[in-house]
Amino acid sequence: MSKDETLGEALRRQGISRRGFLKFCAATASMMALPPSMVPVIAAALESARRPSVIWLSFQECTGCTESLTRSHAPTVEGLIFDTISLDYHHTLQAAAGSAAEAARKTAMKENFGKYILVVDGSIPTGNPGYSTIAGISNHDMLMETAKGAAAIVAVGTCAAFGGIPQANPNPTGAVSVSDLVHDKPIINVSGCPPIPVVITGVLAHFLTFGTIPELDDQGRPMAYYGKSIHDRCYRRPFYDKGLFAETFDDEGAKKGWCLYKLGCKGPVTYNACATTKWNEGTSFPIESGHPCLGCSEPGFWDAGSFYRAISTPTEDIAKTAVYSVGAGAAAGVALGAMNRAKQRRAVETHEKVTIDDLEKEKQP
């Protein structure tokens, strides 16, 4: 595959029909909430786009994000677009190893300085640099060096976007997110554990079409995909509104597909596109298969209490606290009451009755 080949040429060579390509463009436009008139613009831009150089850095991660993106049911147009980008460095997927791999990264950085897209998955340890190294280079140094020439950075997965599980309490490696370290480049957070494949291709398509990064929410995530909560787009929402809940995983409510809020669903506080794009070629998403949402695309979701307790319930034994408080209150109340009574009694005992004479006395000057 030549470096000068356009995306359109590459897709046609791989047997993608014009019809299939336009369908992808239309789907991308609608998912990014763009008007239908933008479809030809996207098509034209993607058609003539030179394959962008992508450098993919994997730090403290589990490769689940790469698995999610590369194992989407082939051959999808998303997958092929992903294949046709010039993935110049990805140490899990590339054939080269050791110094040859590092040389590939250096070459890509030099040739496309200021233009390449940097994709990062995994968090970066700030404790001992030796916690995670690649070819003897610490994650921190490699990120800072590669970020310098990047046009934009895509933080893929919750670890890169927010710190994820390596950052979970007690955070032994001092893990931080990309945006904690890089402040002078546009960063797009594509969070999720793992993130939805179509979200990253959508972000790439947007970048190729408009040359800009998409509109982001306050967590740096593309609004088009993270603009609504799982709860708002959930097909079980009517049951929540009616107050119909599954109480256990195998009761009548669960079998009838009622709301999973009581089983700890984090849908109301989680922003992602699972409920609409779904997983495995649109087959289903966790709630559809009967499991509450874990909230994996939100910062600190590992430390946000049990996955199986609703967000509005206490984390401590409040009934016990209340019982002890009643006991302590009773003791204190009786003691204070007794003191009040003693005061009352003393007041009665020391009370001096006023006689007519006393009143007569007061009249005199």
Partner: protein
């Protein structure tokens, strides 16, 4: 402290602190009131004090015609926001879940749209009673800092709850944390202010009714 950490704090230690202050404070104040006792009535009883007391607890729940005519606004707005508070607090599914978790008892919930509308009506009623309090010269003269404080801590959970339900502004964990925090503020303020009337009204009604019942007259 991040929003998630704040949420964990208000669901855990924060709620514990508020529960201790609320329960301990209420129990102490009830016992103090009861232990003050009443003077022995040496007159012969003409009726049952207990029956009169219990009856009055119930009968005083409805306004008498005179009061309703004289201060229609106070009665209507007062009933509206008290019923609204009851409905939003006890008939909203996530709240029932909380009571279920703590006390092990639950009951059916109202649809969220009904709760939503009730919350709006309750907030409007509370704003109206504040406006009335500020506008009416006599009420304004009688009002002290505590009256405005209890109004504030009462409307705050409704406002934060409404904002959290519609997710306006902050991220959802932050909004829920603020909502729970506002309820904890209410719990902490409760035993030391006029909010205690939610408990003491029953004792006051009983005393009044018992006095009248002993004399054999209507309370």
């Amino acid at each position: 402290m991040s929003e998630t950490e704040l949420l964990l704090w208000v669901r855990g230690p924060g709620l514990q602190i508020a529960t201790v202050i609320l329960v301990l404070g209420v129990v102490v104040r009830i016992l103090q009131t009861i232990m003050l006792g009443r003077k022995v009535n040496l007159a012969a009883a003409r009726g049952s004090a207990v029956a009169g007391g219990l009856r009055t607890i119930v009968t005083r729940s409805l306004p008498d015609t005179c009061t309703l005519q004289r201060s229609t606004f106070t009665v209507v707005a007062g009933y509206l926001f008290h019923i609204g508070l009851f409905v939003t607090l006890f008939l909203f599914a996530p709240h029932i879940l909380l009571f279920d978790e703590v006390f092990g008892i639950s009951w059916p919930a109202l649809p969220t749209t009904v709760i939503d509308a009730t919350a709006v009506v309750t907030i409007i009623a509370l704003l109206a009673v504040l406006a009335h309090r500020v506008k009416d010269p006599v009420l304004r003269f009688l009002s002290g800092f505590q009256d405005y404080l209890v109004w504030f801590v009462t409307i705050l959970p409704l406002l934060t709850g409404y904002i959290a339900f519609h997710r306006i502004g902050l991220s959802p964990p932050g909004l829920i944390a603020l909502h729970i925090l506002s309820v904890e503020l209410l719990m902490v303020v409760f035993p030391f202010t006029k909010l205690m009337h939610a408990v003491s009204l029953f004792m006051a009604r009983y005393y009044n009714g018992a006095i009248a019942g002993y004399k054999g007259v209507h309370s």
